[in-house]
């Protein structure tokens, strides 16, 4: 019985990790269609903000909040200085954000050093049966991942801000004719997406440590989740995170981490072959 509980926990934790790292990109790529190759570095920056919080002596919750605000503001800056000139220009955005990614890694390495640093959070463990135990912090990660996704969805679905933001993304010309400042919504949306990635980085810092090159570990998984998710950013991320998290969780549990990661990418390839516009897309189906 405990084997089953632990197995279920592994799968849910794996799903949460996918959702956590993908939600920021879901906002930026899923909603704005901006391919941000620096998304991994936004996560890295969030981890470093969490480290800053720890150095300043803040309790972890405040460090995570600091990460959200810090990276969110950074995202707004990036949008104003770089991204806003490149809307609609896909390859240029790719190149620019790739350059941004290298710049961020280089800057952090130069000013903060290439060494690993750690953020420690004392949360304890829960025993499951006689053999197993689960780290309480991992349970917090699960909570935060789903809460972040749900909050985003609620923000975009139920608030006035969300309604206008959706309108801006769907039809900017008409929306601006109705008197909305579209640029403000682009900026805020990008900022929110960045803040979410910052949160992801802060939550990951205690379990993987901070290092300038850590972004590379996550950017591929985030893109795979969001692209496979399809048109509806949040439902898509949930479905994709669920699918890949389950695949990864099951294969890692049964075989090894390597097989888990291979499995995820194989499933993604097969899925994209049959549903080229993603899981939640309307296109490509008989309507």
């Amino acid at each position: 019985m405990y084997d089953a509980i632990i197995f279920l926990y592994q799968v849910v934790f794996s799903i949460s990790l996918f959702i956590l790292i993908s939600t920021g990109l879901a906002v930026i790529f899923g909603m704005m269609k901006v391919i941000n190759l620096a998304q991994g570095e936004f996560i890295m920056l969030g981890a470093y903000f969490a480290l800053l919080g720890e150095v300043m002596g803040l309790p972890f919750i405040l460090s995570a909040l600091l990460a959200m605000i810090g990276v969110g503001l950074f995202g707004v800056l990036v949008e104003r200085l770089l991204i806003r000139f490149l809307y609609g220009r896909l390859t240029d955005t790719l190149l620019a954000t790739w350059g941004l990614s290298l710049l961020m890694i280089g800057a952090v390495t130069t000013f903060l050093g290439p060494q690993v640093a750690g953020v420690s959070v004392e949360t304890g463990r829960i025993a499951v049966g006689e053999l197993y135990s689960v780290s309480v912090y991992n349970l917090y990660i699960i909570l935060v991942a789903f809460a972040a996704l749900a909050s985003c969805w609620a923000l975009w679905r139920y608030t006035r801000f969300g309604m206008i933001a959706r309108a801006v993304m769907a039809n900017p010309g008409m929306t601006s004719a109705l008197g909305v400042d579209c640029h403000k919504y682009y900026m805020l949306t990008f900022g929110i997406g960045s803040a979410l990635s910052g949160l992801a980085g802060a939550m990951l810092a205690p379990i993987v440590g901070t290092q300038p090159t850590m972004g590379g570990l996550y950017v591929a998984q985030a893109f795979v989740s969001v692209i496979t998710g399809g048109e509806l950013p949040f439902l898509g991320t949930l479905l994709a995170g669920g699918l890949f998290g389950t695949t990864n969780g099951v294969l890692s549990y049964a075989y090894s981490q390597v097989i888990g990661e291979i499995g995820v990418f194989l499933i993604a390839i097969v899925l994209l072959r049959f549903l080229p516009h993603g899981m939640t897309s309307q296109k490509g189906r008989a309507q």
Binding site: R125, L131, I207, Q257
Partner: protein, 391 residues
């Protein structure tokens, strides 16, 4: 001083050369190829500074054979492709008579053929799985038989007979896994499972679950690099060393205890050729000098000391040979002995590896090590079994 392109030139201070009054002959070029950046840099950072310190100390003492030493440093960025490129540059363009460096076995195996092609001399100042039999390769660091001979019996005796081994997925951990199994079985223990992880894996949840299911008496870690240090965090958060203790041949070498919490590192057992808590005169002098030189109070560790040891051994061999060129120094290497900070080190002519003291250590709660004991002058028997140079 010319600097290598794409690299950070850790050149010896010109002022030191001037005040030493060394004749303005052509300097002896020493190359140093290490990972200042990238996932493997945790091993190199102190070695880079220690190597530079050794060179500057030699220059302050009049150089080698009356000639100043010029150190040229290349950052291989944890990328084997750059190791190959910089070794070629060091030997061909910069005409280095000796090149120190390389961390992983894969980086070493990329560089050795180049050293042989251009007839150079290569000091691999890093612990590894042993067995390399190459006259142009010298390793002043531990090989498995030296590290595990005192460590495995201690682990089996104090922690238990059933071991679970985790390692990074490349040559060194695979080989170490086999040596751990051999030495464990020799003292009546058993390795119940061995698992390997690519260097960029940072999520060890499934492995930790499997460990819990198997209930071993001890978990061995041969995990390597930045991403893998996540294991120590996740292990302490989920299982805890008070439930199942950890032993490691790698922990501490990347100075992990300086960035993990006391809970996450305390209690891990290892064996090493040098650690900061060593109470000998040579060790304390080295540490004081290093902290002044590098302006850095943090833990130095065995990889730091190996950079220093390698340069000083080379210098002694060069003085003995009366000639700094690679072939002459190679002739003079056997029997060259140095009182290193970690103890007396002697080059074993049969293998170009070293006879040295090995210290048993346990991580404490102050980001340092407790000294558990020293085994003196261990021979590199595993490499001696497969290698006889000059035969």
């Amino acid at each position: 001083m010319k600097a290598a392109s794409g690299a950070l030139a850790y050149a010896s201070a010109p002022s030191v050369l001037a005040t030493a009054g060394i004749s303005q002959e052509k300097p002896i070029v020493i190359g140093n190829i290490l990972d200042q950046t990238g996932g493997l840099n945790i091993y190199s950072l102190q070695q880079i500074k220690a190597t530079a310190m050794a060179v500057d100390e030699l220059n302050a003492g009049g150089g080698v054979l009356g000639r100043p030493l010029e150190l040229v440093f290349y950052d291989s960025q944890s990328n084997n492709q750059l190791n190959a490129q910089y070794m070629t540059e060091a030997l061909v363009r910069d005409e280095a008579v000796v090149v120190h460096g390389g961390v992983t076995s894969s980086s070493r195996e990329v560089m050795r053929p180049i050293v042989n092609k251009f007839g150079g001399l290569y000091f691999y100042n890093s612990m590894y799985e042993g067995g390399v039999c190459d006259p142009r390769h010298v390793c002043p660091a531990m090989v498995p038989s030296q590290q595990l001979k005192p460590l495995v019996p201690h682990v089996v005796e104090n922690m238990g007979k059933r071991a679970y081994v985790l390692g990074a997925d490349y040559l060194y951990p695979h080989t170490m896994g086999e040596w751990i199994k051999k030495y464990t079985e020799e003292v009546g223990g058993e390795v119940i499972a061995t698992e390997f992880f690519p260097l960029d894996v940072s999520n060890f949840a499934s492995a930790i679950t499997r460990i819990q299911a198997e209930k071993p008496d001890v978990v061995w870690s041969v995990l390597v690099g930045n991403a893998h240090n996540a294991f120590y965090r996740q292990y302490e958060a989920t299982v805890g060393k008070d439930t199942i203790p950890l032993a490691s041949c790698m922990f501490g070498i990347g100075r992990e205890q300086t960035y993990l919490s006391a809970d996450e590192s305390a209690g891990i057992v290892n064996a090493t050729s040098f650690h900061d808590g060593l109470e000998t005169e040579a060790a304390k002098t080295f540490l004081d000098n290093f902290k002044t030189y590098a302006n850095d109070d943090s833990y130095v560790g065995d990889y730091g000391e190996l950079g220093y040891r390698g340069v000083k051994l080379w210098a002694l061999a060069a003085e003995k040979a009366g000639d700094a060129s690679a072939d002459a120094v190679i002739e003079a290497l056997p029997g060259t002995s140095f009182d290193a900070p970690g103890g007396k080190v002697t080059i074993d002519g049969q293998t170009n590896h070293a006879i040295m003291d090995i210290h048993l250590i346990r991580a404490n709660r102050e980001q340092g090590w407790d000294h558990l004991g020293t085994t003196e002058q261990l021979q590199p028997v595993d490499t001696q079994a497969v290698c006889t140079l000059g035969s």
